[in-house]
């Protein structure tokens, strides 16, 4: 029988590292990542689940970490922006975002990169329309999305 708990020690793997922390049941996954693990690359841009700045990949599924409780992630494997590159090297998406000026303030960028990664993992040759649909859940207030769409297309091209 699963007993109701108000807090619990959870074990979560983030970018290959396993963390154990006690969390309140009410703690959002995004605050667990940012405040408890100090992985501050994942951002908060709204309070209604609309902006996508907090997008991460949990057990292979792209989701918004402000609409999942940390306690729900017990035992999960999570990918965040900090895990995209390896040993300080940028991955092709990160590289393309720079080359195509797909970021200005950079606040939406981590979530945008995670959405782009989820897209390319599944569909390495997306059309422009597919790219736009894939990042529809990520708000950017700086770029008008023009260069973001170009960058994702270029990264897909580079990955072929």
């Amino acid at each position: 029988m699963s007993e109701p708990v108000a807090q619990k020690t959870i074990s979560v793997e983030v970018n290959g590292t396993t963390y154990e922390r006690e969390v309140e049941a009410r703690r959002l996954l995004v605050h667990f990542l940012r405040d408890d693990l100090d992985l501050t690359g994942t951002h908060v841009g709204c309070d209604t689940g609309n902006c996508g700045a907090c997008s991460v990949i949990v057990d292979g599924t792209l989701l918004k970490s402000c609409m999942m409780l940390a306690i729900q992630a017990d035992g999960a494997s999570i990918e965040t922006v900090e895990g995209l590159g390896a040993d300080g090297e940028l991955n092709p998406l990160q590289q393309a975002f720079g080359e195509h000026h797909a970021l200005q303030c950079g606040y939406c960028t981590p979530g945008m990169l995670m959405s782009a990664k989820a897209l390319l993992d599944e569909n390495p040759e997306p059309t422009e329309g597919e790219i736009r649909r894939a990042i529809q859940g990520n708000i950017c207030r700086c770029t008008g999305y023009v260069n973001i769409v170009e960058a994702i297309a270029a990264a897909a091209e580079a990955g072929r």
Partner: protein, 827 residues
Amino acid sequence: MTETATPTSALVVEEQETRPGFIGTSVPRKEDRRLVQGEGVFFDDVKRYGMGFVHFVRSPYAHAKIKSIDVARALELKDVYGTLTGDEVAILTDPFFEMSVPPGSEIKDYALAVGKTRFVGEPVAAVVAATRELARDAAELVEVEYEPLDPLVDARRAQDSDAPILHEDAGSNVVWEGVFDWGDWEGTVAEADRIVRIKELHFDRFSSTPLECSGCLVEFNRGTGQWTMYCNHQMPGIGAIWMAPALRVGTDKLRFVTQDIGGAFGNKICLHPYFVACCLLARKLNRPVQWTEWRTDQHTANAHGNERWFEETEVAVKADGTLLGFKTHAIDDCGAFPRYEPLGCIIWAQVTPGCYRWQNVYVDFTQVATNKSPVSPNRGYSRMQHLWFTERVIDIVANELGLDPVDVRKRNYVKADEFPWTTPNGCVYDSGDYARCLDIALELVGYDGIDKRRRDAESRGKLLGIGIGSTLDSGTNNFGQSQLLNPELQFSGNNEVATVKLDIFGEVVVTLGTVPQGQGHETTAAQVVADALGISPDDVTVRPGHDTYWNSHAGFSGTYASQFAVTGLGAVKGAVDQLAGEIRTIAAAVLGGVPEDAVVLEGGFAKLRENPEAAIPFMGIGAIVNANNAILPEEARHVTLNCRYVYVPPFEVPDTERKYGNLTLTYASQIHVCVLEVDPETGAYEIVDYAAVDDCGNRIHPQIVEGQVHGATAQALGAATHETFTYDEQGNLLTPNFYDYHVPHALDMPPLKTGYIESPSPFTSLGAKGMGEGGGAGIHAVCAALQDALRPVGNPIVYDSCNPPHRVWELISNPAESRGRISVESR
């Protein structure tokens, strides 16, 4: 995807002049590497030992007396560190200074509501606790007893005799009023063939809603009495001017630190009330405190763009469409507290005639307070509202007189050979070619084939419309314009600071006074430095963000008002030119006492022009000056290699009587063309083609300029189609977060076509102009295109700036209502 008119295209007026060096090239942005790795540092990423989290208790009423506040139950909660109430604030601080003349100057504005609340969401108390969640729990336990008052929501009612008064000290809801009378309105009327009258136009409230909300982590140093704010304030200069007197300290006690800021767009200029509350809490509780604003807080209680009404407009026109002048009564709604206002009452005057040769302008301008969120500068600040008005006027006049909107514009635009052009109020438009930009934009959308597309849309049951938005992005303020609203204000001119130094191992380090939020200042500053020193931008370190400790800080420091390319880079250029001179001085001395002009800087070396073998690396020069200076001859010992330069643009104080003078240094222009299709059954519409043509003089970094154009366009399209802060009659905001306040997503954005020309500014050292705000061209273009599309269904007049589908359907279903707002008198 995006089509760009490249410099080789026939669409560009002149081939871009090839300039040596990095200026004018799109070098990789220095900021990007950290940001794409999630390694930027935004204020909310900063942590301190023992920090507490601030949660504000906010008013649920738009207008109410505060009878009592009881924090006892909140303080009983475990791990609650303390509270702050308006009563304490009233004792510990003085009201923030007001810019207006009476009655607006009598308004008392504090960090927390004192005695009464004036908008929903206004902070009335604050709680600090060990976790974010707990702080909110405790805030819910603060008991506030309110006595609700009638709210004032409609600015047009503000001066009615029975209107509720927000600020009893002022005794009136008028914050500021003034008449701007340039040229000869009466004479113009006599000369006109037609007077077009427009009963009312309305520019909606919205804001750029930067994705990162506001906030700060504040530490108080008891030993020095100094506060440090790790924050995202975008204009610390003015922030300190507000905060220090309120806190009864000197500005030396306030240190602002920023690194990365998640967009600001003007919305992070008026953070001082929140910051003062946090400063008081940090001192009272003797621990660092962090305030993180959430989205709903930002929408309800931080910063909106100004809402403006234009009443009883009259436009004097010749029969051929020559525009002679206009007269209007503007009512500007600044919300509950003026704060940066009433500067907006003046700032529109930077672009008084828009892009046009209008000579006679009469504007009766009134700004009033209402029970809504305060406003603050918002991308395109105040000029955007006015430019929307001028563009609406153009299209309404064209429509009513049966003229072609393209012809009317071309007939009345300031012409390329007329620059520098002095406006009727003494502003000097530096350079440009609006007609050429319009031609490029029209060509990009295939204007020649528009009739065929109209018929094609018709065959699919759609109404196609095309509209133009012509705007100006006036950059580099003359703060002397503040004296037009209050001659007592001791502000004028402008300034910005930079330092450039050569350090002991040859490091080139730049500090800026600006506070970038995505504009790529680290990159463009490095380009300027690299060119002056003959090195690569990769060899230049530009300190990210702003820190009061760097001393590269002046009264007007900040990032706002489209000015970095002029003021910020002007300062960098001044400082690096000094440094280059100092490097030459040392090299000349060390390389055998040659004249300084015999030394050239190249590849990180100072070399003799005639004998490049004789060279000393920058590292050697840095080491000598910093650590081995006894070897220097006397005449080289004054060199510090640490150069600070304050850029001061050439302004004079305007004539306050005539409200006349040059208010801004540069005028970038944007001409946009929008093609859209309306579904007449639902009012829903789709933008099917869009072109934006930009002219900001010499482009330091074309890719960054282009990015600003994209972003400004997206924000304008959002404002045109969905984004509006609408209130109910009780003063509740009905669009308090991204659930109801819809901003454009990737699927909402139309394909963008861009083009540019470069008309160098004769008034700036790099020939560049400030740009980035964009003047809301997209709003103007969408409104014009809608009006064009709806011509076959009763020819309604678009009179709001924001037109979501239901408004469009209302125009279609009742064209007489909007038609009734217009009349034409033939004379």
